[in-house]
């Protein structure tokens, strides 16, 4: 089932659960994405796992308005944030991440890409899709969100 993000991150509904998220809490979660782009025609599992995380919290009883997710994209995962033309030029495939990032943004996820990685990999800031904001760097975004009380995951 896909309670929030419809086209990604399908999860199972269980009959019996002993440990579930606390529906009275505000959930703030930061995810660092550094996955490789070796299979550029499909979105990497780590990226789609953001959708799973959201759907899992929803099925676990967290209200969508209490779920705040931020994603910091950098290192090898950086090139996933560019528009279809730029992506096609580099990988000769349509960008499979655009639809995912659009759905995540629609679900309220804050998507940011490391400005340092973006330049290092030869991308222009105007090529970044509008759902993704440019950060000073991954390191500064990761410190900032953690200090604002976000729980932190790193997925490679």
């Amino acid at each position: 089932m896909n309670p929030i993000v419809k086209n990604y991150g399908r999860i199972l509904e269980l009959d019996k659960v002993d440990v579930a998220p606390d529906p009275n809490m505000e959930y703030k979660i930061l995810i660092e994405l550094i996955h490789d782009m070796d299979a550029p025609s499909v979105a990497n599992f780590s990226a789609t796992n953001v959708a799973r995380l959201i759907n899992l919290h929803a099925v676990g009883g967290v209200k969508p308005e209490n779920l705040h997710v931020a994603v910091v994209i950098h290192a090898k995962a950086t090139n996933s944030v560019v528009n279809n033309d730029a992506y096609k030029k580099r990988y000769e495939f349509d960008n499979p991440y655009i639809k995912l990032y659009e759905e995540l943004a629609e679900a309220g996820v804050e998507l940011v890409v490391c400005g340092q990685s973006l330049s290092m990999f030869g991308n222009k800031s105007e090529e970044v899709i509008p759902q993704v904001k440019i950060a000073t760097s991954a390191l500064t975004a990761i410190s900032t969100y953690q200090l604002k009380g976000y729980a932190y995951f790193k997925w490679d």
Binding site: G122, K133, T136, S137, L147
Partner: protein
């Protein structure tokens, strides 16, 4: 790896290198290490009204004893990046828990030289980090596990019970945690 793949890899690296160097590198805080690119167009920036507390698990060593370990150079990058993003230097509180393969960086020059036959390249970096207010701890378990004399460490480094206890303690004190 085919010859073609090897070549494209090498050219890819050269290309990346060129791109990196075509943009000027800046060092707002740590002058000798961790150059970064200015990013005035960034919209997601550090919050200069917050106090920044960061504890870093420094685990990764380097096989070349003449080179500064990237895990430690990255601390200089972290400080320079926060400054470039608008953080005042006096609001940055950074603590390092150095252990595992990275522990060899903490030797004093004499001990490092006796082991590797070269001067410890990390000492000037430690000096600059300490001047910028960074607190550096070496894991006592990593030291003893490698028969390193705890009285023969770089003067900026003090000994912690362990990396694990430093990481738990500082996180529970409100520090953001990173692992390099």
């Amino acid at each position: 790896m085919s010859t073609f793949n090897k070549l494209s890899f090498v050219f890819g690296l050269l290309f990346l290198g060129n791109l990196a160097f075509s943009q000027e590198m800046i060092n707002p805080i740590i002058k000798g290490y961790g150059g970064i690119m200015d990013a005035p167009h960034a919209v997601e920036r550090p919050d200069p009204n917050m106090e920044y507390k960061v504890v870093i698990d420094i685990a990764t060593g380097d096989s070349d004893p003449k080179a500064v370990m990237y895990s430690l150079e990255n601390v200089a990058r972290l400080l320079n990046l926060h400054a470039m993003g608008g953080m005042p230097a006096d609001k940055m509180n950074v603590v390092l828990a150095i252990h595992g393969g990275a522990i060899w960086s903490t030797l004093d020059n004499e001990t490092y030289n006796a082991k590797y036959g070269v001067d410890n390249p990390h000492l000037p970096l430690f000096k600059e980090l300490a001047a910028a207010g960074v607190t550096m701890f070496a894991c006592s378990q990593s030291l003893m596990g490698r028969d390193i004399d705890h009285t023969k460490l770089a003067s900026e480094v003090s000994v912690a019970t362990s990396m694990l206890t430093t990481m738990t303690t500082y996180q529970l004190k409100g520090y953001a945690a990173l692992k390099f």
